[in-house]
């Protein structure tokens, strides 16, 4: 038939492309991600787009912490501080100088790099849990510093800064609403940041970072400048988290000290551990966990009362919880999730995936 010839040629072309991509699975994966990202906002609802944007932002922050902890062996419980600085730098530049949002991202990144680098200097003298404690102090201090009187006219003090009127619209009359456009911007920045992260850990510098993590003395003997690499890693890690913070300022359109409490630092840390320490793509799994598991925990907690009542029908002496009291158990349910996860998957979701791959490989012989 005449009409079938263009169809068959298209099929042939597609087939050829598929074969090429099948041989180069990394490229195929990358293209798949691009296509999924491009069509996602058209398929998803506004809220879901918002949530996935938030997930990508968390993933960037977690990747930043992972560079520091997973690849360089330095602990931080204070990454909410760099996240806050990134968000505030972006917000202040937008409100004070009317700067377009896009320009504020590289500036926030640079400022956070400098902050991280400077914090890395005294941190050189601290190891392990002592460094964790010092960064913890940073996370506690930052929300209060943001209320500091002399800078209150910039930071807005406790009231924070409202950016609702400054959310960027899609340029050139592109037919995207703000949710969709915010997603695309975040998606593009995420790809860039993860490209940088992958390149970094696979470079000479990345090997130096890992060498320091594995054995400092051996690393020094091979000629690696310990203090330089450790402080630089701190700077790069802060840069990543600061970029995430700047993106969050755009997404939430509001920054306030209460947005960057210690719970955020813990969330980033949890995300890293859950996703897998020392495995870059784990950041997405970690982001998924810290974004959605609290919501799941909430649903479970809110339904616990009815569940307990059901069990009581079978086991009469089973305790009962009041319907309203059960709402207070969200945090508890989340904690149970976390304990189970760490117990079942001590090396995070990354470890589970690796284990699964090994098993499959073994089964195939």
């Amino acid at each position: 038939m005449k009409t079938s010839s263009p169809v068959t040629s298209i099929i042939a072309a597609v087939g050829a492309t598929v074969i090429t991509l099948a041989q180069n699975w990394k490229l195929a994966g990358f293209i798949l991600i691009l296509v999924l990202g491009a069509i996602f906002p058209f398929w998803a609802s506004g809220v879901f787009t918002f949530q996935i944007t938030q997930l990508l932002i968390y993933a960037i922050a977690i990747a930043g912490l992972n560079l520091l902890t997973g690849f360089n062996g330095q602990f931080s419980l204070g990454h909410s501080a760099f996240y806050a600085i990134g968000a505030y730098v972006s917000a202040i530049l937008m409100t004070q100088l009317d700067m377009p949002f896009y320009l504020t991202i590289p500036i926030a990144a640079a400022v956070c790099f400098v902050f991280g680098f400077l914090f890395g200097l005294p941190a050189l003298r601290l190891e392990g849990i002592y460094l964790a404690l010092a960064t913890f102090a940073l996370a506690i201090a930052t929300p209060q510093m943001l209320k500091f009187k002399p800078i209150e006219h910039l930071t807005g003090g406790v009231q924070g800064l409202t950016l609702f009127d400054r959310k960027p619209d899609a340029p050139f009359g592109l037919p995207f609403d703000q949710d969709q456009w915010t997603f695309y911007v975040t998606f593009a920045v995420t790809i860039l940041m993860f490209f940088i992260a992958f390149s970094l850990v696979n470079s000479r510098s990345g090997r130096a970072m890992k060498a320091i993590r594995d054995n400092q003395i051996a690393a020094k003997v091979t000629g690696i400048d310990l203090s330089l690499f450790k402080t630089l890693t701190f700077g790069v890690s802060a840069l990543f988290t600061g970029v995430a913070g700047a993106l969050s300022a755009m997404l939430i359109a509001f920054v306030a000290p209460d947005s960057f409490q210690i719970t955020l630092a813990v969330a980033i840390f949890v995300g890293m551990v859950v996703g897998g320490v020392g495995w870059i793509p784990g950041a997405f799994l970690g982001g998924l966990f810290i974004l959605f598991v609290p919501n799941i925990a909430e649903h479970i907690a809110f339904g616990l009362s009815a569940t307990f009542d059901q069990i009581r029908k079978i086991i009469p002496f089973f305790p009962s919880i009041g319907e309203q009291s059960a709402k207070g158990l969200t945090g508890t349910v989340y904690g149970v999730f976390l304990i189970l996860l760490i117990y079942i998957m001590p090396s995070g979701l990354a470890g589970l995936l690796r284990l699964a791959v090994q098993r499959i490989a073994k089964a195939r012989g």
Binding site: V47, Q54, K327
Partner: protein
């Protein structure tokens, strides 16, 4: 087509409304012939989770409403989510309420930071942000935010009430202030200073801030005593209020003591501080205290007790959060009742902005809810009260005072 800021949203909302019209009769989002959906966020987890009691009480209240037949034939579906007192989470949950659950309005969202994060979004979408659970003064600004309305007396107006009392009874006093270093504490201090007017500079001799993360306020209390102040203005949250009352007694400082009504709970503040140390402390109130024996046979209080027994039996009957939640929920209940069948986002907002002398079960006698198109502060009257250590209760005195403050 160039899409301007949120220009698309009304169009989408319209499209959605049209789509809805096919299935049910032409009605506002969140309203069907049998149901009204009301959204809420509360901190059920995290550092501020004590406030979650308010959300739980409101849930229980609407269970009672439904058990008694609903509102004009419609059942209330009260959907409440946990925001852990985090502004980003608050926005995420509120978007879920508005866009997925499709609620009629967001009611009693709790906390100043969370409400700041959702205010622009809700006003952009023209969804009522009704009776926010915070006393900050910025919630009554109908010109800029016509979809946002506060409820409780704002902190500044309370500060002004103390100022008026001080000027009348202690015109030559020296005032020492302890306040929480955030917008809540600062609002109180501003109200006091505005009320004192020109005399503020000479009368206030010491101001001591503390951070909410501080373990104690001991050093601030010692500094206040050392300053020689004989009037103590105490703008603190419950934990610090109890500490400061106790510390003042320990160091033998006996000023005329004004305690903000955020911390008047007998169970959570006065008893832990040692009731005898609280003798004679002044504060203000607008809701009847369930621990006060003078309301033992009060009809409104009895209704609340019956409600607690039946619908919230695991709730804390001594907590002021349960009386607060009951009262604010009753206010919304009455507004919805008054609307009849015509329940829309516009009609709710209009009714909320035209309340005349509404009485609620637990408001103090003489205190009424009043609003208008330019007055988005429902409760502006309060009465002064004094702590009675022997009976462990607050005794009201003097007239009902209006401390009106208009949003800037």
């Amino acid at each position: 087509m160039k899409i301007k800021k949120y220009g698309m949203i009304p169009a989408l909302a319209l499209g959605f409304a049209v789509a809805m019209a096919g299935t049910v009769s032409a009605q506002s989002p969140g309203v069907t012939d049998t149901e009204i959906k009301i959204g809420n966020i509360n901190p059920y987890s995290g550092p501020a989770s004590a406030y979650g009691t308010i959300g739980k009480t409101i849930s229980a209240y609407f269970k009672m409403v439904n058990a008694e037949g609903g509102i004009n034939g419609r059942m209330i579906n009260f959907i409440t989510y946990d925001d852990s007192y985090s502004p980003p989470k608050a926005l995420e949950q509120v978007r879920k309420l508005v866009e997925s659950d499709n609620v009629l309005l967001v009611f009693q969202a709790l906390g100043t930071p969370g409400n700041s994060a959702i205010q622009g979004y809700l006003n952009g979408k023209k969804v009522p942000q009704l009776f926010v659970a915070t006393g900050a003064t910025k919630w009554g600004d109908p010109k800029k935010f016509p979809w946002t309305m506060g409820w409780q007396p704002n902190y500044q107006s309370e500060g002004r009430i103390y100022a008026a009392y001080i000027l009348k009874n202690h015109p030559n006093g020296k005032i020492g202030i302890l306040y929480q270093n955030d917008d809540y504490g600062k609002d109180y201090v501003k109200g006091l200073k505005d009320g004192l007017g020109a005399k503020a500079k000479e009368m206030i001799i010491s101001e001591q801030p503390y951070e909410v993360a501080d373990p104690t306020v001991d050093s601030q209390m010692i500094a206040l005593k050392a300053s020689g102040a004989d009037i103590f203005f105490n703008a603190t949250t419950p934990k610090f209020a109890a500490q400061s009352i106790k510390k003042a007694a320990e160091i033998g400082w006996k000023p005329v003591h004004f305690l903000n009504q955020v911390s008047v709970s007998v169970g959570q503040v006065m008893t832990p501080a040692g009731a005898e140390n609280g003798e004679g402390i002044f504060s203000t109130g607008y809701i009847k205290d369930q621990n006060d024996p003078q309301w033992k046979d009060d009809a409104g209080m009895n209704k609340w007790r019956a409600f607690m027994d039946k619908y919230y039996p695991d709730g804390d009957k001594t907590s002021s959060f349960t009386t607060y939640g009951y009262t604010v929920a009753q206010n919304l209940h009455k507004i919805l009742l008054s609307l009849g069948k015509n329940v829309t986002r516009e009609s709710v907002m209009k009714a909320a902005a035209s309340i005349k002398d509404m009485d609620l079960d637990l408001l103090l006698p003489g205190i009424k809810i009043n609003t208008s198109a330019t007055d988005f502060f429902p409760i502006e009257q309060q009465q002064m009260m004094k702590f009675n250590a022997k009976e462990k209760r607050w005794d009201f005195f003097g007239p009902v005072i209006a401390g009106e403050v208009r949003g800037s």
